[in-house]
Structures are given as C-alpha cells and as structure tokens.
Amino acid sequence: MNRILHMKKSTRSSLFTYTLVIVAYVVIQLLRAFREGGVGSVLEGQLVPICAYVTMALALNLVVGVSGELSLGHAGFMSIGAFAGCSVAAALQNTVTLDPLRLALSMVLGAVIAGFFGFLIGVPVLRLNGDYLAIVTLAFGEIIKSLVTNIYLGVDADGPQFSFLSNNNQLGEGGIELIRGPVGVTNSERIATFTAGFVLVLVALFIIFNLVNSRTGRAIMAARDNRIAAESVGISVTKYKMIAFVTSAALAGAAGTLYGCGQVTFTATKFDFNTSILILVFVVLGGLGNMWGSVIAAAALTILPEALRQFADYRMLVYAIVLILVMLATNNPTLWNFIARIREQRQEKKEGAK
C-alpha cells in the first residue's frame, strides 16, 4: 500500500488504467462464461465496437490531449484502417486459416497503412496551427470519405484488381470482391472477437503510456504548452507533433480494422464527420490527456445509448449540451479559483497539524 502511495503520479495513473481494463475484461468474460444469458444480447453485440471506440478515444486523446492539436478527421484514419484491414483479412481467407493470426496480420497492416496516411497528411497539416489545423483535418476526413466511397477492389487468382469511380474489375473464377464502392465491404465471416479487442486496448495503452512518459512524450507536451519556448530549447516541434500524430493515426487504423472485421457490412459513410465528433466527445468528457477517463467515457457512451433505446432521439441533443457545459465548466475561472482556495486551506491544515 505504501509503495502505491509513494509512486510517481504518472505510474499510478497508468497502473490504475491497466487494472481498470483488465478487471472489466475478466468480469465480462466470467459473466459470459457462467451466467445464463451472458452479459445480455445488447452488450454482447457491442463488445467489439466498444473496444474499437475505446482505442479510437485513446488515439485521439494522444493528439488532442497530449499534443494539443484538434483533429476533426480521425474517423478518416479509422476508415482507412477498416477498409485496408478488412480487405487483407478477406484476401488472406484461404491462405491464413487461423482466425486470430489473420486478424492480427490485418490489424498490423491496417495500422501501418493508416499510419502512412497519417504521415502524408501530417506533413502539410502540422505546419499549421489552431483552428486552421482543425479545419484541414476535417477537410482530409471528408476527402478520405469521398475517395473511399469510389474505390472498387477485387482479388482473384491473378492478383488484385483496382478501379476507381466505376466498377471495371473483371474477376476470374473464384475471385472475391473486397471493396464495392458505395456498397462498402461485406464480411463473409466476422473474425474480430472481444479478446482481440481487449488485447488491442492493452497494446494501445502500453504504446501511449510509454510514449507519454518518455523523453519524447515530455517534448510533445512541452511543444503543446509553449511552442516558442520549446523551440528555443532545441525541441523540433513539428517532429514531435508528427510522432504523436502518426502514432495516433496508426492506432486509429488498428481500431478501424477491429471495428470493420466485427461488422457484417459497413460503408465509408459510417466514418464521417459525426463519428469524428463522437470520438471527440469521448475524449473531452473523459478529460483531455486523461487516458482512463477516455476508456470509461468511450465504453459508457457506447453502451448507454444502446441500453436506453427509447431515448435515442434525445441522445445526440444531450451529448451536445453536455459537451458545451463541460467546456464552460472547465474554463470557468470562478470555479477554478474556488477549487484552488479549498486546496490551499487543506494544505494549511496539514501543515498546522505537523
């Protein structure tokens, strides 16, 4: 107990997050194994999307909370990951028969491709700052959506075939249509499992905590807090912002693959501006830069609307109001002064007791 109390704050916070995720996983698995009806049909169907959204929230938190840049196009990276990953999974269906291995391969590939696009987009985007950066990420998100909606990809014995805008692929015997433009992707089997999602969340946490609590992470936060001061002590702001952005894009890509492989069918319009905003809501409600907050917010806000179907109409309205109120409360100087005063008084009491 004493050791936990004397740990560094960052270590304690990451330990708490890992424990939280592992306990949640164990409880859900126990319920699924021993309780009749498992965790209920509603939650059962949401397990994989929850893991995907938790990973998305963690990824976006790395950009918005840690690196301090607002990205409004993160659903675009999720889209790239979903389409690239699921195409690979379908193409490898007969070569790699072991499902978890195939999923892992697809996720790695989805992450690499999304990370690569993150780099391509990051080069122009990270030269801007503030509102301009947000708008350009939004623009890229829309561009990705338009482009992906018009991709037709198929594979047969002769190798992959690709066409754009209209379907000109002529697939041979036994060929598979992987991406069908506006119709999207249809998975013949859903290989994403809750355990895979759990592993992905743990990997994402591991990557993010190690990044944040390293020299690189401190440089990223220094660049966030004061760009000019960071530059003056020799931190290359663009480089560190790029590290955060690409890592985040890659994680989003892996989350996209997980999400896509858990769906029977999905289209590019699923990953639109609204999805980007939804993930932003998770991050803001969980607390900017606070990873366990993101985990809880993403899980709770994914499951709540499913559980409260009858209030579905009011759901987005409530999200909007909560988003505004949280921003107003966290930026209220009176509230902050009040909290600071209470802390001061406590400090004085402690010192008086000594």
Binding site: P124, Y132, I135, A139, E142, L280, L317, A320, L323, N331
Partner: protein
C-alpha cells in the same frame, strides 16, 4: 466545348459562389472580431431555411393563386422572419456559449462551437423531424431567357443580393460609427475598450449581422437546392468557411472573392471532372491554399510576437 454551356456553368457557379460569399461574410466578421471559428454558423442557415419555409407555407394560402402578391408577400415576410429569428439566435448563442469563454484557449472555444452546432442540428431534428421538406423558391420557378441562355430568377436574385450586401457592408464598416468600432475591436480589443468602445456590445452586433446574413443565405441556398433537412446547413457552412479562408479570413472583400471562386470551382469540378469527387476537390483547394498562401488570397500575414 460549347461557349453557351460554359457560360451556363459560369453563371451557376457565380450564383452558388454568391451564397458562399454571403455565408463567408458572417464567418469572416466573427473571426475577425472574436478570433473564433463559429462552427454553428452553418446551422444558423438551416434554422433560417426552416423559419422561412414555415412562414411561407403559412402565408401562401391567404392569397389568390397566381397573383403577384402570392409570390412576393410570403417570400418577403418569410425572409424577414428568418432574419429576425436568426439574429436573436446568433446573439443568444454568443451570450450563453461563447461569451464565458473569451479568455479560454481556442481549442475550448472550437469544441464549444461544435457542441452548439450539434445542439442546433439535433434540436431541429426533434422539432421538425428528419423528413426532408421541399422548399419553394422565393422568386417562383420562372427564368429569364437571354439569347440561348436561360437564367433562373433565383440565380439573378442571389447574385444581386450578394452585390448589395457587399456594398452595404463595406459602407457600414468604413462610414458608420458602429462599423468603425467593429474594426477597432478586431484590431485591438484592449485599446478599443480604453477608447470607450463597448466591446461586448460590438461583438454582439457582429454576431447579429452575421446571423442575419446567414438567414438570407439560407433562404437563397434553399431556393436553389430545395431539399431542407436538419443537416442541410453543415455542408454549405463548411464550404463557406473554406471560402473565407481561401479569400483570407478577417477580410470582407476576401470572403466575397473566395466565395465566388469556390462556387465556380465547385460547379466546374462537378461538370468536367466528377460529381462524386466534387466535395473532395473543393476541400483539396482549401488544403492547397493553406499550404501555399496560409493567409489566403487577400489576407495579411501577421507575425507572431514572442
């Protein structure tokens, strides 16, 4: 390529561009004075469209079918109602959501603005349902025949409205006391306050003007693209913002130029490249502009001070 077809596209581009320009004026004025991106501006357009729609459909029954009054009175009344409601809405939004955040980081303000935009869309969804409403053009459906070209009245009205608004705004900001106060506040808030300018009132006034313009833009946009849903406003809103950035944000002639160019680019991209990629091309333009000329076509580059 036929010259008539090109001219036709050009006029359609100018018309769409005029709508973008009117919306972009609202963005650019608010950005100039409050240094914030009013993300909810596009949704004010949608509200304007709905108000005008209900006012028009409520009034049109009272007039003789086909008479002059049956077109003019509901259209004028609808537009005025939309302007009044949007002006109030804009000022209320500013007071409740943006004013407490004057000192906050731009990230916080932007997220709040996104929240307001979401709020308006979903409130509209609850109030007016997601079933699309079909808007009747404010000018009726006729068109003017100029040689081989046929130009609809809506197009003419849109271009005329844009020119009038532009001239009026330029005169307002350069000649009147309130307009000068607006320019002073956008230059330096603190100094303007020391000179006895009521900064809060000036910002409210800017929001009022911007929202009234959004209402006009909403009516004109709906007349050209008549399907009205709660999310109608977001696309023209984002594109108009693109136009404002394109022309140089904070600059009134810039918003005008950016809007017109963007409208023309959009129509020609749809006609000669691909309608499916129309939006992607418009956004690609934004990205290229920001990279090559981050301050926009007519904007001033401001050096950051340490």
């Amino acid at each position: 390529m036929d010259i008539t077809i090109i001219l036709d596209y050009l006029i359609r581009g100018l018309s769409l561009g005029s709508v973008y320009a009117i919306i972009a004026l609202g963005y650019t004025m608010v950005y100039g004075i409050a240094k914030m991106l009013n993300f909810a501006h596009g949704d004010v357009i949608m509200v304007g469209g709905y108000i005008c729609f209900f006012a028009m459909s409520g009034l049109s029954g009272n007039f003789e079918e086909g008479s002059m009054a049956a077109t003019v009175v509901p259209a004028v009344a609808g537009t005025l109602a939309a302007m009044v409601v949007c002006t109030i809405l804009g000022v209320v939004i500013e007071r409740l959501a943006y004013k407490p955040l004057r000192q906050a980081s731009s990230l916080a303000v932007l997220i709040t603005a996104i929240g307001v935009s979401y709020f308006l869309q979903n409130a509209a969804l609850l109030l007016w349902s997601s079933n699309p409403k079909v808007f009747t053009p404010v000018t009726g459906r006729g068109s003017l025949q100029v040689g081989p070209l046929s130009v609809s009245y809506v197009t003419l009205l849109t271009i005329a409205a844009c020119i009038i608004i532009m001239l009026a705004l330029t005169a307002f900001t350069s000649k009147t006391k309130m307009g000068k106060a607006m320019r002073a506040v956008s230059e330096d808030k603190g100094a303007a306050q020391l000179m006895g300018i009521n900064v809060n009132a000036t910002i409210s006034l800017t929001f009022a003007i911007g929202s009234a313009l959004a209402a006009i833009a909403g009516v004109l946009y709906m007349s050209a693209y008549p399907t009205l849903t709660p999310t109608t406003g977001s696309m023209p809103g984002i594109k108009a913002f693109t136009a404002a950035v394109f022309g140089g944000i904070g600059s009134i002639p810039g918003a005008m130029l950016g809007g017109l160019l963007l409208g023309i680019i959009e129509i020609f991209a749809g006609a000669y490249i691909s309608t499916q990629l129309q939006n992607a091309i418009v956004f690609a333009v934004l990205i290229v502009v920001l990279l090559v000329k981050p301050a926009g076509l007519l904007g001033k580059m401001v050096q950051e001070k340490v």
